[in-house]
């Protein structure tokens, strides 16, 4: 087997929008390298021509009747929002 694979932690943690401390970066770098090394087992098997499985018992075209139903009242939908005002969620400025 090859040597321990390495992951660009800064790049991937940015993709997932998770800020890591320098200690976490160092720790994860080693641990995730081990996990990726373990994942190399997956390359052992020939999967040429095999259909991928996304769900064990997939169901397709699950439609609802086209009729209106009671939704959430806005105060309920906003009850867990960290900041809200006038039935809207308050966020930091997004556009300059």
């Amino acid at each position: 087997m090859s040597e321990k694979p390495s992951m660009d932690i800064d790049y991937v943690s940015n993709l997932t929008r998770i800020e890591l401390t320098p200690e976490e970066k160092e720790k994860f770098q080693g641990q995730l390298g081990d996990v990726l090394k373990y994942f190399e087992k997956l390359q052992e098997l020939d999967v040429e021509g095999v259909e991928p499985t996304a769900h064990a018992f997939p169901r397709f075209n699950v439609w609802d009747e086209d009729e209106s139903k009671e939704g959430f009242p806005s105060e309920k939908a906003l009850m867990n929002a960290p900041k809200s005002r006038n039935e809207q969620i308050v966020v930091p400025k997004v556009v300059e």
């Binding site: 999967v47 064990a56 867990n80």
Partner: protein
């Protein structure tokens, strides 16, 4: 009836007592609250209690009964839920700091079904954060301890749900199982735990971890009780598009009928290296029991077994990285106080709110889905998943159920695996393939080690074959009843 005798009973027995009027639902609820007061300081199965609400539900059940309006066998029976299942007006933390202030605005479908059946819904049960882990050590609110040995883990991720039943803090609980998170803790705590077929139980209102693998299922002292709880929560739900439109038979009725011995398969890959000797001995004894009852024992092979752990961790982490994107610090989670712009809100809220294992898995999952790696990891894992399913399809042409140990070892000590992700991941090696194939599986207690730790037997059934699976398990359980033994939690 005194409270210690009430809490030792199964749900089925309690239901009988309520029916003949030898006790009231309020007395049952009170007895469990007293037990939680007595032992939960040691066990820490509960993250939150609402005693007033619990007793009010019990009194409402007594009032229905007095008027002759009882809703069924579960009316007045306490059921406690893993803290990932929504109950309107109650907290749901998923054992994460990021949801520490979250209150569910609606009921999960399983919660609605329990309420309609008159069940008395109790406190919130501990878990590994977002159900990611096999020991409950990843809870942001402190680990649950194994009632059989407080220095050992209860298993996970549904460790609070299994420990609560073992410590007689609840007769019935619900957990969720993505790669073994019901069956492994059931095994480690000496109780029955069942993962239904994918699509059997609605996931609406369950905090999602890996949507193609997650299923909600019951914990109990006996297989009979698991059947009762499962038939109550199962069935098609238009609110979950993966929910399967299949009939739900009365499993309790099936267990009352005489079962026919059938063919049980032993996959050789599950009986190889890495299994503890005492686990092996207990499982072999169970096999001998089935033989003596006229069951045919068939040796078989599931050749892709050793690939199930890597396949699982690629798929489950990929789905998790996508599912957990909803915890963004914007809509319903805690928000970082240190964020200076919008992107910062995401990254800092998630960095501060998630624990280590959740961060590790989101990063791993995003990596497996990222440009340049998708084919080598995610797509390849999905293709291998097909081969794992086909292995099971072939096996079920020859047998009616598959018998294996649930976990390679009994409960391990705190800290033993927590710094080594791969060794922790391997503690689910016997349970993971069932989720990948979508099949039903359950763990039934099959003995104890010399040091007094429980051992579990896993039975895996055909898709939507819950009735047969429960009946095979019941054949063993009614003559052994290991789950009815209670740990000594006195000082």
């Amino acid at each position: 009836m005194d409270s210690s005798s009430l809490i030792s009973k199964t749900a089925t027995e309690l239901s009988g007592e309520l029916e003949v009027g030898t006790c009231k639902a309020e007395e049952i609820a009170q007895a469990y609250l007293e037990q939680i007061d007595r032992v939960d300081g040691k066990v820490h199965a509960f993250l939150h209690r609402d005693d007033e609400d619990f007793l009010a539900q019990a009194r409402a059940s007594d009032e229905r009964r007095a008027k002759g309006e009882t809703l069924g066998a579960l009316d007045g029976i306490p059921v406690c839920l893993k803290d990932v299942i929504s109950v309107e007006g109650q907290p749901l933390t998923a054992a994460s700091k990021i949801l520490k202030d979250y209150v569910s605005p609606y009921d999960a479908t399983v919660t609605r079904k329990l309420k309609e059946a008159g069940a008395v819904i109790g406190g919130r049960l501990n878990l590994d954060e977002f159900a990611m882990g096999s020991s409950t050590e990843n809870s942001a609110y402190g680990p649950t301890r194994n009632p059989w040995n407080l220095e050992c883990v209860p298993g996970g991720s549904s460790g609070g749900s299994s420990a609560a039943v073992a410590a007689r803090e609840a007769p019935l609980t619900l957990g969720s199982d993505t790669g073994g998170s019901i069956r492994q803790p059931a095994s480690l705590c000496g109780v029955v735990g069942m993962k239904p077929t994918y699509g059997m139980v609605s996931r609406y209102g369950l905090a999602a971890f890996a949507s193609s693998l997650d299923q909600i299922g019951p914990f109990s002292q006996t297989v009979e009780d698991a059947a009762l709880l499962l038939e109550t929560i199962s069935g098609h739900d238009p609110l979950d598009s993966t929910s399967y439109p299949s009939e739900v038979p009365s499993y309790s009725q099936i267990l009352k009928e005489n079962s026919q011995p059938c063919a049980l398969g032993l996959p050789k890959e599950f009986f190889g290296e890495g299994m503890d000797d005492e686990v092996r001995a207990a499982v072999e004894k169970a096999i001998e029991f089935y033989k003596s009852k006229g069951y045919e024992i068939v040796d078989l092979s599931l050749p892709t077994t050793d690939l199930s752990v890597p396949v699982y961790y690629v798929i489950a982490t990929a789905e998790a990285s996508s599912n957990l994107a909803r915890y963004d610090g914007i809509r319903y989670t805690t928000r970082s106080e240190h964020a200076e712009n919008a992107v910062d809100v995401y990254a800092k809220s998630r960095g501060e709110g998630f624990g280590e294992e959740v961060k590790r898995r989101c990063i791993l999952g995003a990596y497996g889905l990222s440009s340049g790696y998708y084919d080598a990891y995610y797509l390849r894992a999905q293709k291998t998943r097909t081969l794992i399913r086909q292995d099971f399809d072939r096996a079920f042409e020859k047998v009616d159920a598959i018998l294996t140990p649930t976990s390679p070892t009994p409960a391990f000590k705190f800290g033993e695996k927590s710094e080594d992700p791969i060794s922790m991941y391997l503690s689910d090696v016997y349970t993971i393939s069932t989720n990948l194939a979508g099949l039903p599986g359950l763990s039934v207690p099959c003995g104890f080690t010399q040091s007094g730790l429980p051992i579990g037997l896993q039975l895996i059934g055909k898709a939507f074959g819950e009735g047969k699976l429960l009946s095979v398990a019941h054949d063993y359980d009614r003559e052994h009843q290991f789950g009815r033994q209670a740990p000594n939690l006195e000082d």
